[in-house]
Symmetry: C2
Subunit: 455 residues, 2 copies
């Protein structure tokens, strides 16, 4: 028999990891709900006709496909050596939550109250090369509003980001850009196909300096005139308002560019009403994530916590003007964000930011001294559980040491010792496993004793 | 473009369905936790070496397999027409929660505090023929104790069943059997290979009568002598104690049979200490689920609610003496139960048993009268959310009728109307969408007003 193992890039989660993960998921969920977002779930398997072609060539390559059940080997024999992938498979695993959401909206458009505020927390699968922090199975936590082009939706999503990371007590910085600003830049320099090269080069300013950035732009075949026009954008600095003022000047001939600036100003001013003292959002025109996908605001959140060296992206999103068009429902605008639970986990772990979960795991263990005593304890345990105290009765009348080791290993803070004396007197001996103190507690007061004593 | 669809046997879940499903999952989870069970999760994909051969021929047939990524077509060309399934796939989707749990225990045996009380709530996949109540993707909710052969574990699991269905307010009946009793019956009539045929025939007594049951047994090649011996078992009736007394007599020559009776008596007497007035458990020797798998107690729970016609199995389980042996850790006894969330959902739905979820969805919608008003409402909404009131600001200054239709469709109980008058006076007009009543509420008292008023 070979040693059991799990597939590369997948993970088991232990009880302690589950408590930590649930803490993150529950926090995100509670904030989504406060803002009127409602949960949906979609199937793990989708038809390949739903998935293929929606994530680019890379996505089609990294998608997990389900082998058709039944006569797949017969099919191969029948078709011969020119068998195609589509002869072997019709279904794939969920690759993200956005495409299934778009399909859901189209299929359920008559039952949905638009603007539809939905959230969805489910795993997705990608046959990517596993590495630190990158898995083949991982959770996404998405909130989207679909069916409204109001910028108040962007403001709600930014507020959600602030609320989530404040509740989790994780330091963060929100970067904000707008696809229309990038389109404007491309327009004024007359090189729309170069916009990615431009943002990549500009992003290096701090590291390599102005001259090298210019050099890189020249190497991408940008004309000197274009680079000259770009210079104020490369050197963009100051407050958000100063950056937007510079951009207004450079993009004054671009209608779409000015529209992007106006949208960004509107989002920032509404946001400032809600968080007048805060400094959460920074305009960053090098932010270009999902460029082919987003049509308005682009949002990215970086971890920025003094207790952790992680500065990775922990949330991102933006506005897309035609998500459901691919499934036959055109002209529906949407905007959404997605929290990366695994990366938030890493930041919190490094920062020592997880709370104490001892109140949501077993609080009290009854030691088992034999059949009679255990029967008595079973009844007491029932009362404890009904009172909301997580309680166990050790199932076997094993040696005391073994039972105490169990309590230790499971970090159970209180152990009750009920022998024949205790059964007669109704006074329960309770040991605090942290301090070692022993208390005599009347059976009827046991649950309030446990509830009122911290370990 | 073809109309979007989801694979046969899979489901999307709407917000209302999610609230109902979460209500079931949260209830089950809360009871598991009270008894000291801890949550784990295992990957969706397992190596086929972990899954194959564990669920019989049927299981291997119904298992979903993942197409190897990369050069699978090259592989087919290379191997030619005699390509095997194992050339195409190495991984499958989780088929149940028990085998992955066994693998988890073996892989993590050094970190686990035994007896290990774990629960797991995750979907599983089977390429079964979909029909009413049977899906290709469905959730299982399992609790198991592994590493203890004490019957107190069976008692804990029976208590959990009672607690869950009492909290859900679903009528139920627990059926209890023991593999050893069945082995005893097989032993005394000298036909161990016929035990399934026997239980199937006996189960028909109420429908077809004694003579027909005997006829069926004869048709299965049971001797007249064997059938004569079986007669008291076929006619088994009365209280649990009466049934066990009859069995003791019939099985008096079978050591294993008597052991099964003793175990059942012990479980029932401990259980009776906890639920002295109740009539939850019925000994039923026709219960033979998972026969090849279980070695001791066999448990099945049937819905038995006056408000619902469903009498299907809503929970089941039993003891297995060597689950982890298949992965190289022999002689570890375990016992577990599994709740069928989908069937519980069906019973609750038919019984009208779901609670009112209006407090866990949006309670208040601010109508949007324009930019100024919306900005004012955004701030108020922030306060409401911080006070725990689920709140939305309608994002567009659409026609009043459209906004009210949205509130209606989403069943939002309160709508706040904030125009320039309200902004000046600080008195908010709140409309109760059920009664139609309108109230003037000071802005500072808005959240307490909403919290204290039912819709």
């Amino acid at each position: 028999m070979s040693k059991p193992a799990i597939p590369r890039g997948t993970r088991d989660f232990s009880p302690e990891q589950m408590r930590r993960r649930n803490y993150i998921f529950d926090t995100i969920r509670s904030v989504f709900a406060r803002y009127g977002f409602e949960q949906i779930e979609t199937p793990t398997m989708e038809n390949l006709s739903t998935l293929e072609g929606k994530y680019g060539e890379e996505g089609d390559k990294l998608m997990y496909r389900i082998l058709n059940s039944g006569r797949v080997l017969d099919k191969i024999k029948e078709v011969g050596p020119n068998v195609k992938i589509s002869d072997l498979t019709e279904k794939g695993l969920r690759y993200d939550l956005t495409v299934p959401f778009a399909r859901f909206v189209v299929m359920n458009q008559n039952d949905i109250a638009f603007p539809f505020r939905r959230y969805q927390i489910q795993p997705v699968w990608r046959a990517d090369n596993p590495q630190k922090g990158r898995y083949r199975e991982f959770y996404q936590c998405d909130a989207d509003v679909i069916g409204s082009d109001s910028l108040l939706n962007e403001v709600d999503l930014l507020s959600i980001i602030v609320d989530v990371f404040k509740l989790l007590n994780v330091g963060f910085k929100i970067k904000l850009n707008n696809r229309k600003i990038l389109a404007g830049i491309a327009e004024v320099i007359g090189a729309p196909e170069k916009i990615i090269d431009i943002t990549v080069a500009i992003d290096k300013l701090d590291k390599i300096g102005l001259d090298k950035v210019k050099e890189e732009l020249r190497s991408k075949d940008l004309s000197d005139a274009a680079i000259l026009k770009l210079e104020p954008i490369i050197l963009l600095s100051g407050s958000n308002e100063q950056k937007l003022a510079t951009l207004s000047d450079v993009l004054k001939s671009s209608e779409i560019g000015l529209k992007g600036i106006e949208e960004t100003r509107s989002i920032l001013s509404s946001f400032a009403l809600l968080f007048p003292q805060a400094d959460h959002v920074e305009v960053d025109i090098t932010l270009a994530r999902g460029l082919n996908y987003y049509t308005g605001a682009i949002i990215e959140v970086k971890a920025n916590d003094p207790r952790s060296k992680f500065t990775s992206s922990i949330c991102g999103g933006g506005r897309y003007d035609d998500l459901t068009g691919i499934f036959g429902l055109p002209n529906v605008s949407g905007v959404g964000i997605s929290f990366g639970a695994d990366r938030i986990y890493d930041v919190l772990e490094e920062a020592g930011g997880f709370p104490d979960f001892s109140t949501v795991s077993t609080r009290l263990l009854f030691v088992n001294f034999g059949e009679q005593e255990a029967a008595y304890c079973l009844n007491l345990a029932r009362t404890m559980r009904n009172d909301g105290v997580f309680t166990e009765v050790y199932p076997d009348s094993a040696k005391m040491k073994k039972q105490m080791t169990y309590a230790d290993k499971k970090k159970i803070p209180f152990v009750a010792l009920v022998g024949s004396n205790e059964m007669t007197s109704g006074m329960i001996s309770v040991k605090n496993m942290t301090s070692g103190e022993q208390h005599q507690v009347p059976a009827g007061e046991l649950s309030s004793f446990i509830k009122n004593h911290n370990s």
